[in-house]
């Protein structure tokens, strides 16, 4: 049996959070994880660690210090400026071997999922995907990781009893945002990079920004989504206008995407993106099971559909039965009036 011994397990202590950042900005999920890590750490009476990998990361480190972290492990080198799987995995492995945390938390973002699956395999340990709940089994000291599977139709609680570290990716916006705490002691340990420019196995040739929607649906707090009921691409401007008024993004059903009315990047559902905004407004979307798989864990769902029998009403907190071509412009009008005051 290659299951690790209790004594070996004791060598692993503390909760590590991977800090995701891009262009000098930390992803909000990293703060959420620092908040959760602190709660778990207090329960287990162990320290909180953070790992920061990148180039020119002083400002990032300064910011992370304000979230009750005991030790920040940092690696910086010019070739770590943009995220790439290989060098980041090598650095993360080195940090983890050095710090031996019992738990590692990573945001279940586009980048995080690319990174976590490779890292856990390299460390030959368990990784639970896309958790929405984390708690501690006090008796055994194990992390209880709860996650949706089968498109949110079932929930599973998963443990990793024998291997260390226990690793989980966690969905953004599920854990509350913690408050800043200034002036707490925080040690910074700079490690020498173990990767080199030779490990950059991707050459980034170009980046074509999404021109249709400036706000990305995976991150938006409010999503206004359109389906086949929108009737054509020319009508989506209503949804963009409403989304802009509310500070949100525009999503779509597969029917709308496959008709070529809006790019695939906006598709919500089983073969699109999984979203969990605070508010999801479905306009002219029937609520097929494959669509629900991508949005049924939204906090509040509003449905606008002319068919009172549409399945979307079964999951909607609020519904308006009616013609979206009357309802949506009326919503826009009333919000504008209110804002005008």
């Amino acid at each position: 049996e290659e299951k690790i011994q209790e004594s070996e397990k004791q060598n692993y202590r503390g909760i590590m959070v991977f800090i995701e950042h891009e262009l000098g900005k930390i992803h909000s999920v990293s703060f959420e994880l620092l908040g959760k890590a602190k709660k778990i750490a207090d329960e287990l009476k162990v320290p909180v660690y953070a790992m920061v990998i990148g180039d020119s990361i002083n400002e990032i480190i300064k910011e992370v210090k304000n979230y009750e972290v005991d030790v920040i492990y940092a690696v910086s080198a010019p070739w770590l400026y943009d995220y790439q799987t290989k060098p980041f995995i090598l650095e993360a492995e080195s940090i983890i071997k050095h710090s031996k945390p019992e738990i590692v938390l990573i945001g279940a973002t586009t980048l995080g999922r690319d990174f976590a699956g490779a890292l856990a395999t390299r460390l030959e340990t368990g990784l639970t995907a896309d958790c929405t709940e984390l708690s501690i089994d006090k008796e055994k000291g194990l992390l209880l990781q709860t996650r949706p599977a089968f498109g949110g139709n079932i929930m599973a609680t998963i443990i990793c009893p024998y291997k260390r570290p226990q690793m989980a990716t966690v969905r953004p916006k599920v854990m509350p945002m913690p408050h800043k705490v200034f002036g707490k002691d925080c040690r910074i340990i700079q490690l020498q990079p173990v990767s080199g420019p030779k490990d950059l196995d991707l050459e980034i040739v170009d980046f074509l920004p999404d021109t249709v929607g400036k706000v990305n649906i995976a991150e938006a707090d409010i999503i206004v989504s359109g389906g086949r009921g929108m009737k054509g691409p020319e009508n989506f401007h209503m949804l963009f206008e409403l989304a802009e008024l509310l500070g949100g993004a525009v999503g779509a059903s597969r029917a709308a995407v496959d008709s070529g009315w809006i790019p695939y990047a906006h598709q919500v559902g089983q073969t699109g993106r999984t979203v969990r905004p605070k508010l999801y407004i479905a306009c002219g979307i029937s609520g097929a099971i494959q669509h629900l798989a991508g949005m049924q864990t939204s906090e509040v769902i509003v449905a606008i559909n002319k068919d009172p029998e549409a399945p979307i009403f079964k999951v909607a907190n609020y519904g308006i039965v009616g013609d979206l071509f009357k309802v949506v412009p009326e919503i826009i009008k009333q919000i504008k009036e209110k804002k005008g005051k």
Binding site: T125, I159, I204, L208, Y264, Q290, V300, V315, Y318, I320
Partner: protein, 266 residues
Amino acid sequence: MRVVVCIKQVPSTDAKVKMDPVKGTLIREGVESIINPFDEYAIEEGIRIKEKFGAEVIVISMGPPQAKEALKTALAMGADKAILLSDKAFAGSDTLATSYTLSLAIKKIKDVDIVICGKQATDGDTAQVGPGLAQRLNFSQITYVSKIRHINIEDKELVVERLLDNGTQVVRTKMPALLTVVKDINQPRIPNVFSIKKAAKAEIPVWGPQDLDGEKNKFGFDGSPTQVIKIFTPPPREGGKIFDKDVKESVKELIEILSTKGIIKI
């Protein structure tokens, strides 16, 4: 050039997932199975590479004997060969054990230039097998691929587009490479009756642990560090309030509720 496509058979989404109330496990018998939707795009892309650049396309799946059905569909679509990885020893695999087993099969197939996986499977929903596999094979890892722009066989080079949060990233890499693909990449073909009939007769080799050069305790349940200890259905969402007054009144009430609850700020 040799391309391997990894496919998984999953329960059809339209089928209600049932649970064994005593064991707390999923009941998979009697539930209609389909090819994981993302893997259909993976198969199609493999075949397009073959048609455009010339390649042998081998499709592999780890699963119960019935997964042969999925492999036959892939053959009917135009794959050259299919291999099923099936044995009691593989049962209970988490993603670590799955990527281990698949990687051994790919090493045995030899001289593989490109491995294509789906972005994620619709049952386990982890999106972890692709990155795990790239790591084990030491291939370049390119997730969320939405287009293959170019393959240069001589220089063993590949240029692809990746769908990221705020746009599309274009990257160049050396082969061997592992790609995970999203729906945008293509429109999978529907096999014709002739090729379906031909595929139905195809022999599909079944590989077990004895065929792979691996360590016994890294397969299946023993090789899986994660354990599912509880499965439950989330409380169903209940339909809420329907506003059925005239449009103006209904909208007014809706906006009132959303803004008093702080869901929208206006």
